[in-house]
């Protein structure tokens, strides 16, 4: 499986990106795909949550919080410049 993308867990707040692939075949990756994180889906990192560093992203019009190890399964491609409007402020 192609993994030359950048893992979501390393992305900073405000990053815009596109899902390249979801790594793995357990329950968590399957769930991520069914939440709509399919290849090519646009995604924005909104912020990191306090007390534990979960990562909050905006995808398919809803807000999703992922643990670090869950976010590590999401590989991003086409990482954009941090959005100016409506970005995170963390």
């Amino acid at each position: 499986m192609a993994t030359q993308g950048r893992p979501l867990c390393d992305a900073d707040a405000g990053t815009d990106g596109e899902v390249l692939t979801i790594v793995g075949d357990g329950r968590v990756p399957s769930r991520l795909r069914e939440l709509g994180l399919t290849p090519g889906t646009g995604l924005r990192v909104v912020r990191r949550a306090p007390m534990g560093g979960a990562i909050v992203v905006q995808v398919r019009g809803f807000t999703l919080a992922l643990r670090r190890d869950e976010a590590a399964l999401v590989q991003l491609s086409a990482i954009g410049v941090p959005a100016l409007a409506g970005g995170g402020d963390a």
């Binding site: 979801i22 075949d25 769930r31 991520l32 939440l35 399919t38 999703l64 409506g86």
Partner: protein, 718 residues
């Protein structure tokens, strides 16, 4: 009566719509064999009635989690569920790009299906316009725009469901495997399934459901099915996952096309409100502070805010008991009614304010969207016990009282997380343990030198008991995770819904249903246990020996004045009560316990106290009072009575500071509370867990109290 199932993603307003459809007829039950709630209600439609059944909220029908497995079972009529006559799928109109997956899967089941495009008001406010007619035509099912919260669209929805049930579903293209590999895998599974004991698969989609389900999740409800699936598919887990992800991607490609065709969006004018609120509530500094503030307020409300209501209930129940005692002639029946049944009803009623206040708070937090943020912030902390952040509120409320805390665990989606939370909740030092701690510290540590010159030693010990419970809870949780509630920690992957104004109707219904359910289902158990405990403490009835009585009566005769005579008379009553108690079944048990608890430094009198305090831990004090012949504390000020009981503990039962510490540890850890037993039995739908918790926690309490005593003795304390 037609059965209508209500399905949908979480946070789409499914509960709101369910309430709008069924009003106050809703009843909460359970799915057979599993501790997931099954909510159903009745709707009057024309001359007939519909039975409406709310499925657990889920994102997909392919079983990755028990909720999804249940939703699928309920829709397909598997495992004793009635097959519904129609399905209403609730969607967040502002979020079709995610919500359509579940709708399309349900359409593929071939039942009459209606889509409720809910939250239309929010979608329009966000600049979305949805061509619901075009969507209906494309999907081949009616799509009804609604604002469930204001009741808009409910009638149109009802008509659409009626029609859908009359005319066969519009022929629409059946689901087809998106790739030849998947088609081949499905054919193979359908051919070989029967030989491995899988049920016949009527359609390709059903075969697909089996192929993509998680074998472990299947095993939980259908033993053997998971293994059969693995064998019949003949594919490795990664091959199955690859096919699954292929199918999901194909689905979302369809969804993206539909959304592009039928949803148009004007660019939003400004940053959405939710993001602005989150930048405060999830701020690295402000977020945790506000979290502490909110949780502190909730705890304070459950812990202290309910005191006036509890006192009022106590005095009303006391008045009723008084009336009944006067009105009925003295008899065994009267005692059973007053000291058993009425006491049990009072024992149930005192929980009602706590339950009402806690669920009021939870409903407000949940409906507003904050609860998801709270779960997010506590996720890491609770991860140490292998629990998700949703365990926080149940555990926090358990510090006020274990009973509502255990009830609050219902909001936890994963049954194994929920079981662990329920089993460790009794380790949280509830408010009923405080009087016991105070009794000990005031009796043996009142004169202890302050630590560092300022900190009260007794106060620190009490704090230590809270800490002990917390640490043990994390340890026990971690052990349970590796034994009885095995399985990986459930994922976070938490949706953060937009902030919304809580709806008064939703909140009121949550509180009403919880209170009602507690009174009707757990109440009778508490009453029954109260009667049993009272009987143990009453029978066999043994009178004071004639010689003792005669000696005490001589005191009455010898008294010089009326108050003296009265005091002597009270002494007779107290002695009779002590004698009766120590010869009752509970007394016999207390004596029999002595060899077991002697290593902790407890005598049989404390043993009787342990039996009697099963009614509620704070009852230890009046039970001990009776055993020591000091009566039940009637007409005495609480502090004075506590001093008397404490004095007797030291004088008669040889309570030393070290034994005091053992007693505190025992009470901190042991599950000395029949209401907690009752609520665990009710919530887990079995007697296995409450009995296991009772034996396990009491054994742990013994070991720790023993260890503390041995350590103390070794260090030269007594």
């Amino acid at each position: 009566m037609p059965e209508i199932a209500l399905a949908g993603n979480p946070n789409t307003g499914k509960t709101t719509l369910f309430n709008a459809l069924t009003g106050s007829t809703a009843r909460v039950g359970n799915y057979p064999g599993i501790t997931v709630e099954r909510r159903s209600g009745v709707r009057q439609v024309g001359d007939g009635q519909w039975s409406i059944h709310d499925l657990p909220g889920c994102y997909s029908l392919l079983a990755l989690s028990p909720e999804e497995e249940i939703a699928h079972q309920a829709l397909t009529g598997a495992l004793g569920n009635p097959r519904p006559n129609a399905v209403i799928v609730v969607l967040d109109a502002g979020n079709l790009a995610r919500n359509l997956l579940l709708l399309m899967q349900i359409c593929d089941l071939g039942l009459p299906t209606v889509a409720a495009l809910n939250l239309m008001d929010e979608a329009s406010a966000r600049g979305l316009s949805i061509d619901h007619e075009g969507l209906s035509a494309a999907l081949g099912i009616p799509c009804v725009p609604m604002v469930a919260r204001r009741g808009e669209g409910v009638d149109a929805l009802e008509r659409a469901v009626q029609q859908a049930m009359q005319v066969p579903p519009v022929a629409r293209q059946r689901w087809q495997a998106p790739s030849p590999e998947l088609a081949a895998a499905l054919t193979a599974l359908r051919d070989r399934g029967a030989a491995h004991g899988l049920p016949p698969m009527a359609s390709e989609f059903e075969a697909c459901w089996w192929l993509f389900s998680d074998p472990e999740t299947l095993e939980a409800t259908r033993p053997g099915a998971g293994a059969a699936l693995v064998a019949a598919s003949g594919l490795s887990p990664s091959a199955r996952a690859a096919l699954r992800s292929q199918a999901t991607e194909a689905r979302f490609a369809d969804i993206d096309r539909l959304v592009a065709q039928h949803v148009s969006r004007a660019p939003p004018r400004r940053r959405p409100m939710t993001e602005r609120i989150d930048s405060v509530l999830l701020n690295p500094v402000g977020g945790p502070l506000l979290f502490l503030l909110v949780m502190g307020a909730l705890f304070q409300a459950v812990f202290a805010g309910v005191t006036p209501a509890v006192d009022a209930i106590d005095s009303v129940m006391a008045a009723i008991s008084g009336q009944v005692s006067q009105w009925m002639p003295a008899s065994v029946l009267r005692d059973v009614i007053v000291d058993g049944v009425l006491a049990g009803i009072a024992g149930t009623a005192v929980f009602v304010p706590q339950i009402a206040v806690l669920f009021l708070g939870i409903a407000l937090l949940e409906d507003s969207g904050y609860l998801a943020r709270a779960a997010l912030m506590t996720d890491r902390l609770l991860g140490r016990a292998g629990l998700p952040g949703t365990a926080f509120v149940p555990l926090l409320s358990s510090f006020a009282c274990n009973v509502p805390g255990i009830m609050a665990a219902r909001a936890m989606p994963s049954p194994s997380d929920r079981l662990v939370t329920i089993l460790i909740a009794p380790l949280m030092s509830c408010s009923a343990r405080l009087p016991v701690y105070t009794l000990v510290t005031a009796t043996v540590f009142a004169d202890a030198a302050p630590v560092f010159g300022v900190l009260s030693f007794g106060g620190l010990l009490v704090l230590g008991m809270y800490g002990l419970g917390l640490v043990l809870a994390l340890l026990v949780g971690a052990v349970l995770r590796r034994t009885v509630a095995r399985g990986p920690r459930s994922g976070l992957m938490l949706e953060l819904p937009p902030y919304r104004m809580p709806s008064a109707r939703n909140v009121a219904l949550v509180v009403w249903r919880r209170v009602r359910q507690f009174c009707l289902e757990t109440g009778p158990l508490i009453v029954a246990l109260t009667v049993v405990l009272w009987a143990l403490m009453t029978w066999p009835r043994v009178e004071l020996p004639a010689a003792t009585r005669a000696a005490l009566e001589a005191d009455v005769a010898a008294a010089v004045d009326a108050p003296g005579r009265e005091r002597a008379q009270v002494r007779i009553d107290d002695a009779a009560s002590a004698h009766a108690l120590s010869h009752s079944a509970a007394g016999v048990i207390g004596h029999a316990l002595e060899p077991v608890i002697a290593p902790l430094g407890f005598d049989w009198r404390i043993g009787i106290g342990l039996v009697g305090s099963f009614a509620a831990r704070e009852v230890l004090i009046p039970v001990l009072g009776r055993v020591y012949g000091r009566g039940g504390g009637e007409g005495l000020d609480e502090d004075a009575y506590q001093r008397q009981v404490g004095g007797a503990l030291v004088g008669v039962s040889q309570l030393t500071p070290l034994v005091g510490v053992s007693l505190m540890i025992f009470f901190a850890v042991a599950m000395q509370c029949m209401s907690t037993v009752a609520i665990i039995a009710r919530e887990t739908r079995s007697w296995r867990w409450p009995v296991a918790a009772l034996l396990g926690l009491n054994a742990l309490a013994w070991v720790l109290a023993y260890a503390a005593r041995q350590l103390g003795l070794a260090a030269g304390w007594s």
